[in-house]
């Protein structure tokens, strides 16, 4: 088998050096073109783990390899040329326009005083995501769905090998949730995304990792991972798991305690 795009081995991380680790013994792999979902209850360490993967959180033990190279042996720029991140972090008060925000994605590929370079790439990406008519509008004036598309466009012009997404479907209407995830699939990139909505994760991910209290407690295909027993143990909620009536992936129905 070829070398995985992202390979995390025995990773420990704690917010303060010498403190109690919030992530313990994490092993995770993403193959080329694979869509991997990360699920787990609030506070289980999803965001912390994603931050380890894009070289924000420095692990106290273990390694993170990208295409076989230790990302902490490389500088942030090298990593940014290969990993793009779609966050819930917006530039609010300052008034960048849509094109400015998207053009920022080229940053890791450009020198200090270089121009934006390849305007066609930016324009093509804007066009592909139906953003061209809004290119010169202020980012703050966009709707939630449009903002997510702009951030996706920025991630795409970064031309990464791996795209990391923290709760990409938050705050989106069902239509935009499905459209965004479909667009992500279509990119053909390796993807690592955290999810709250397990049904969306089941529908779109090739494999899932379940994280609970800083440890990976299960991983595998959605059918393999999303069992009633696992959901009860990790999320503490009873669920009915059956097959989606129109597709082959599992469907989860939460059973609210009477």
């Amino acid at each position: 088998m070829s070398c995985p795009t992202l390979h995390i081995q025995g990773l420990h991380w704690s917010p303060h050096s010498g403190g109690q680790p919030l992530l313990e013994g994490i092993d995770l792999q993403i193959g080329a073109g694979e869509f991997v979902g990360l699920i787990g209850p609030n506070g289980s360490g999803k965001t912390s783990l994603l931050r380890c993967a894009y070289r924000f959180n420095r692990p106290s033990a273990g390694q993170v390899h990208l295409d076989g190279e230790d990302i902490w042996q490389r500088n942030p720029r090298w990593v940014a040329q290969r990993i793009a991140v779609m966050l819930q972090e917006f530039p609010e008060d300052f008034g960048l326009n849509v094109r400015d925000v998207v053009a920022m994605g080229r940053t890791p590929h450009l020198g200090w005083f270089e121009g934006d370079g390849e305007p066609s790439l930016i324009d093509d990406t804007l066009a592909r995501l139906d953003l061209l008519p809004r290119a010169l509008d202020a980012f703050v004036c966009l709707s939630g769905g449009e903002k997510q598309r702009v951030l996706l466009a920025r991630a795409l012009v970064q031309q990464p090998r791996l795209l990391i997404l923290d709760e990409p479907t938050n705050h989106l209407d069902p239509r935009f949730q499905l459209a965004l995830l479909q667009q992500l699939r279509n990119t053909g990139l390796s993807l690592l995304a955290s999810f709250h909505d397990l049904n969306l994760a089941a529908a779109f991910c090739d494999r899932l990792y379940v994280i609970d209290a800083g440890r990976i407690v299960a991983h595998g295909t959605p059918e393999h991972v999303l069992t009633e027993q696992c959901l009860a143990e990790v999320f503490g909620v009873q669920a009915l798991v059956d097959r989606h009536p129109l597709a082959s992936h599992p469907r989860i129905t939460w059973i609210s305690p009477a």
Binding site: F56, P76, R77, A80, E89, F90, F94, L96, D100
Partner: protein, 340 residues
């Protein structure tokens, strides 16, 4: 609505440059002794070796070239520097209220000036006060950076708080010395508290010129990083920036530049706070476009405020800080009302 097209932006920058050039010339005529524009142009041409003697008196030439010209240029440099520093600091701290004096330099400059006036005397001749103000600014800036850094990391929120805290303590010390000291000393120190361009002279202009230019080059080289940091820490890291290093460069660079400017012109308020907001409305928040606009607008603004300061209560000089603060405050109120 910010200007959208690159052509529009170029046009704006060229117009601002022309306006700046024109303002420099026009403003030379204003003051307690008015000099007509034709004479001003003649004097300037003669001084730079392009013209002959004209029908102006030696006194007029003296006033225009020796007194007003350095003052106008210093004003332009200080305005450009402060506005640019304010724009950059607002981005790295993600705080639209950040301004150059946030790093504690102004109170440090006042403290340095107080020490010279009350205790040290003119230890370095005519340069004693600016020099002491600079050392004071540098000292209090180092104090702020020291208090704010934790484990070699400078965090914006801590920096803002440290700046406010250190400023208050240093200002308290300066005020205590002033209050218990010679009452005449207060008048000479007032200059640094209120700000002014009266210290301008040709022999000192190279210093702010070099510093403002260096600051501009530094900040322009960090323009993309400023864009990213404005969006947030995570975004900046995910775009490949070593955010610690970028912040350290911005904070130290802008503090040094502000220190130099304050030592020559005192604590001129509101320029660094207000002009970046005006510039953003004109050209948007992208820093490669914003910083040049900030610098030009800052320079223009300061030149004309200074014209007001030296004509309003002639033959006296109104401390320019009073004028900038009044205009700045009123301007902000106007903005607020219009937005609402």
């Amino acid at each position: 609505m910010p200007i959208r097209s690159p052509a529009g932006y170029r046009l704006l920058i060229v117009s601002l440059l022309l306006a700046l050039l024109l303002s420099c010339l026009l403003s030379l005529g204003f003051g307690s002794a008015q000099v007509a524009l034709g004479k001003v142009v003649g004097i300037v041409l003669q001084q730079v070796g392009l013209g002959e003697n004209g029908d102006w008196s030696r006194g007029q030439a003296q006033i225009v070239w020796q007194i007003r010209a350095p003052r106008v240029l210093l004003g332009a440099l200080v305005g450009a520097g402060l506005a640019m520093v304010g724009g950059a600091l607002q981005a790295v701290t993600r705080n639209p209220l950040a301004d150059p004096h946030l790093l504690g330099v102004s109170s440090g400059a006042v403290f340095g000036a107080v020490l010279v006036v009350l205790f040290l005397g003119p230890f370095a001749g005519a340069f004693s006060l600016p020099l002491a103000a600079f050392i004071g600014a540098l000292g209090s800036m180092l104090l702020v950076l020291g208090v704010a850094s934790r484990g070699g990391r400078l965090e914006s929120d801590r920096l803002l708080l440290a700046g406010v805290a250190v400023s208050f303590v240093v200002m308290a010390a300066a005020n205590l010395l002033l209050y218990t000291g010679d009452p005449h000393a207060a008048a000479s120190v007032m200059f640094w508290m209120l700000g002014g361009l009266g210290l301008a002279q040709w022999s000192l202009l190279w210093l702010p010129a070099v510093c403002v230019l260096a600051g501009f080059v530094l900040l322009m080289s960090l323009a993309r990083a400023l864009n990213a940091l404005m969006s947030g820490e995570q975004t900046a890291v995910s775009l490949g920036f070593d955010t610690r290093r970028v912040r350290a460069k911005v904070f130290v660079g802008t503090a040094l530049l502000t220190g130099v400017l304050v030592s020559l012109s005192g604590a001129i308020g509101f320029v660094g706070l207000m002009l970046p907001h005006v510039a953003r409305r004109l050209v948007g928040a992208e820093h490669r476009r914003l910083l040049p606009a900030c610098a030009l607008l800052g320079a223009l603004f300061m030149i004309w405020v200074d014209v007001g300061a030296r004509t309003l209560i002639t033959p006296q000089d109104l401390p320019i800080g009073i004028a900038t603060a009044a205009i700045g405050g009123l301007f902000f109120i106007l903005l607020l009302r219009r937005k609402a």
